[in-house]
């Protein structure tokens, strides 16, 4: 057999992955983009080029409200998971001195992931409900006289569930970057007279930025693409873009759903693009 040239070999070696990405990533996205320009009636989908879906989307007040809501969830969840994630990672990385304990505590953080997302989410419902544990406790402690209504089926419960589901995605990359910080840097900072807070802001935070950025991308994309959490935890009283799409699909309005999906995809990509502009994460990967 004639020896293959290096170029041919390279292409062959890269082809399985390329094939998988084309079939499972590129093709579906192209399909969605194509379908988003089709039109639909109550009973049929018409494959004709039309801007009708986008015109409707951008012409509707609902779209802007729902997108705003999606960004609001993303921003609040991001802020809370960042604070919690950073604190947990800081504790694990800098306060726990022994590696076995570090690993044990880290695994402890992942235990909630042994059950499905939906179950973890739903388990909040009996806790937060009108006659749930939280309300019973508050009443018996005398903090409130009658059940607090906003605990469940509210923005509060949606964000609570998001934070519960996604904080670990913030902890892991931040912990990972923190573990790579040379401990002598902290000593050098202390030697130079930095207080604990100054070490945090002048040394740890700047050096943890790539981890924070990766965690932020995880959380933001997950929250922006989510629909089930918002549906369950808001009791169908709030909407985000994911729910808009799922409603369209339920009504078999695939072209309209596809158009919304394209707009969401572009929005998320722009958001990530902006984040990547702020911090260079390449050396972290």
């Amino acid at each position: 057999m004639k020896a293959m040239s290096d170029t041919t070999k390279g292409w062959l070696l890269a082809s399985p992955l390329t094939l998988i990405l084309v079939v499972f990533l590129i093709a579906p996205i192209v399909m969605i983009a194509v379908v988003s320009f089709w039109t639909a009636t109550e009973w049929s989908i018409v494959p004709a080029f039309s801007l009708e879906n986008y015109q409707f989307l951008f012409g509707s007040d609902v779209t802007y409200r729902v997108f705003f809501n999606t960004f609001k969830y993303a921003a609040i969840t991001w802020a809370i998971t960042l604070v919690i994630g950073f604190t947990v990672a800081w504790y694990l990385a800098f306060h726990i001195r022994s590696l076995p304990v570090q690993i044990a505590l880290f695994l402890l953080c992942t235990i909630p992931f042994w059950t499905s997302n939906i179950i973890r989410m739903i388990s909040w419902i009996p806790f937060l409900g009108r006659n749930g544990l939280a309300n019973n406790m508050l009443i018996s402690m005398g903090v409130v006289d009658e059940p607090v209504e906003w605990l469940l089926y509210s923005d509060f419960s949606v964000i609570l569930a998001f934070v519960h589901l996604y904080t670990l995605f913030m902890v892991v990359p931040i912990f990972n970057t923190m573990m790579r910080i040379d401990r002598s840097l902290l000593e050098a900072a202390r030697d130079a007279g930095a207080s604990g807070f100054q070490i945090l802001t002048n040394v740890v935070l700047p050096l943890t930025k790539p981890g924070i950025m990766i965690g932020s991308i995880f959380v933001i994309t997950l929250v922006m693409g989510d629909f089930i959490t918002v549906r369950f935890m808001s009791g169908s009283q709030s909407a985000n873009v994911g729910r808009l799409i799922s409603n369209d699909i339920a009504l078999l309005q695939y072209p309209s759903a596809a158009a919304t999906a394209v707009v969401l995809l572009v929005t998320v990509l722009i958001t990530i693009g902006i984040l990547l502009r702020l911090v260079d994460i390449r050396k972290e990967l």
Partner: protein, 324 residues
């Protein structure tokens, strides 16, 4: 002679929670303005001693006095010491100038003042051209100069150097140690330099403090320690000495005092190593290994090969009795 800025360790002990004793009841006076090397094998307690002086380890027992003030409970930056770390510990996200100015920034000094001061120090170590670089754009020697400048910007009375030359290649090591010594002379402050290399200690130190097993084995001027090792450990660790058993105890004889003669102690040549000015002859004399450094010319008048029997002689007056 005691002056204002002496550093004194008074019965200092470092015990770790697991019971290990890293430094055991050590007392020593470091004279102001001297270049002192803490010398010893790894695990001898020299680094712990340095880190206690710096304030990065707590003192279990005893006191550390600087300028007659007990600093052992003060945070590192309040002691009048500054430390240069083994791997330099430069902040990778800050430019050379910002690294040097770091401690001033922590004190809240405004930007233009601290930049000006940082530039003065960068000039001192001849790094002003690289002020805008990041640490990973610098060579090892350059990083060390920046680390020096950063430590010196706090105007310390004592500069603590934790194996400062170990990260450099041998050629650079010799150049940087000349610079360290020159800098110390110019600044006139105390340098305490931890090392496990006796050649480094001999080259640099006004005073050598040899540590082993958590205690000071011997301290004194470099030449004293070299010429008159107190114990077998010091004699062996400083190198260039042979330790032999005599009737009244052990004695050290310098390798360059051992000669090959026509009579004397019989020994077998194990290895011959040409070292330029000298030829190192490793021999076995009974149970003990004896190293003889023979001047090159003398050796080649009458060369020996491994396996040959020789007679070793030395001047009795050059035998140095060891106390332990």
């Amino acid at each position: 002679m005691r002056t204002g800025h002496d550093l004194e360790l008074v019965h200092v002990t470092k015990r770790y929670p697991n019971g290990a004793v890293a430094v055991d009841n050590v007392s020593h006076l470091f004279q102001a303005g001297s270049y002192v090397c803490l010398l010893g094998p790894s695990g001898c307690g020299k680094s712990s001693t340095l880190r206690m002086i710096a304030g990065h380890e707590t003192v279990s027992d005893g006191a550390i006095l600087l300028s007659n003030r007990d600093v052992s409970a003060l945070p590192p930056a309040k002691r009048g010491t500054a430390m240069m770390f083994q791997s330099y510990a430069l902040f990778p996200h800050l430019t050379v100038r910002d690294n040097v100015a770091f401690s001033l920034k922590m004190k809240g000094v405004d930007r233009s003042t601290r930049d000006k001061r940082a530039m003065e120090l960068l000039e001192l170590v001849d790094m002003q051209r690289h002020q805008d670089r990041l640490p990973d754009q610098l060579s090892g020697g350059q990083q060390q100069r920046v680390a020096l400048a950063r430590a010196l910007i706090t105007d310390p009375q004592v500069l603590l150097l934790d194996e400062p030359l170990s990260a450099l290649d041998p050629f650079l090591r010799i150049r940087m140690r000349t610079e360290l010594k020159k800098l110390q002379r110019e600044l006139g402050i105390t340098f305490i330099h931890v090392t496990h290399g006796q050649d480094e200690a001999l080259a640099l130190a006004d005073e050598i403090v040899v540590m082993n097993n958590a205690v000071i084995e011997q301290a004194g001027p470099a030449r004293d320690v070299w010429m008159r090792p107190r114990s077998e450990f010091v004699a062996r660790f400083m190198g260039g000495h042979n330790v032999i058993d005599l009737a009244g105890g052990k004695a050290a004889i310098r390798a360059d005092a051992v000669r090959i003669g026509t009579q004397g102690q019989s020994a077998t040549v194990i290895n011959v190593e040409y070292q330029g000015a000298h030829v190192a002859l490793a021999t076995k004399m009974g149970e003990s290994d004896i190293l003889a450094l023979i001047p090159e010319a003398e050796f080649f008048e009458n060369p020996k090969n491994p396996g040959e029997s020789v007679f070793l002689t030395w001047d009795e007056g050059r035998l140095h009795r060891l106390q332990a």
